[in-house]
Symmetry: C2
DNA sequence: GTGTTTGCAAAGTGTTTGCAATTTA
DNA sequence: TAAATTGCAAACACTTTGCAAACAC
């Protein structure tokens, strides 16, 4: 939080994407990128910010997440319908989706092969293949 | 629409699942199951019903879609985050998702193999593997 | 008749937007 | 100071809910 040394690398990273390194964006970037790979929702990140005494509005969190996504710093993940997840891992990978609690877990995409996909519909080209492995917690009672 | 011959097989199908074959449920079942495999949203189905002069409320459409899903007559598909799709194809299959217009296209699951999935997270077991092949319309301008 | 189902309108989520006030360069 | 960004509150889209009236058996 020292304003004299405000995470130079994050400042640079934001500048490179054409986003002004504002207090809010820096704070969110710090939460997002300074603790390994993670999955957040707008609300979870907003909660973290507030918990860390970072004053930022939910609207700004949404804006920032979308701007970061557009800049290639985040990847948007759709699994659950209800909420939108953002993933700080932008490399090729897929997801386990733990149905019981809506948690996401990455797994690397390098070793994964999907074979047997038919031709894409007329006039379309393949953008990406997403694999979601849905899992549920084993209950010994089952 | 002849009340004297109200689609006996649909009536039976509903009865088997423990759902009373009400006018609304029969009408929706007819729209859903009498014209091949399809993907609907609550709103699209509601629109169809109204267009076909079937008086049914949106709330009932939602209820019915969920009841049918629970009964195994439909499958819920998550791809787009904004809306929930229901698929009358309950067999093993995957989806093309046409990003430009949010349209879904099925492809059969039999020929598809996903290899290289690591072990599921601790204490969980695999429920299902969903493959979404995202495609976009080719523009000659691109 | 009795329990189920429906429809309405209201409430609930998660997300987006308009705009004045603030901040950045 | 000019342009970008923020925060608020209101608006949104989609979905769920509570409850009285209508319906199925």
């Amino acid at each position: 939080m020292n304003p004299d040394r405000p995470y130079a690398h994050l400042v640079t990273r934001l500048r490179e994407t054409g986003l002004r390194p504002t207090r809010q964006r820096l704070a969110l970037a710090k939460l997002l990128f300074e603790q390994g790979e993670r999955h957040v929702t707008a609300e979870s990140l907003h909660g973290e910010a507030l918990a860390g005494s970072i004053r930022v509005s939910l609207a700004t969190v949404y804006n920032t997440l979308h701007q970061f996504t557009q800049a290639g710093l985040l990847r948007q993940v759709v699994v659950d319908g209800a909420r939108t997840y953002f993933d700080t891992n932008t490399r090729l990978h897929h997801h386990f989706f733990i149905e019981d609690d809506g948690e996401l877990v990455d797994f690397p995409g390098e070793g994964v092969t999907v074979s047997g996909i038919p031709e894409t519909p007329d006039g379309t080209e393949q953008t990406r293949v997403d694999v979601v492995v849905r899992v549920s917690r084993q209950s010994s009672a089952n």
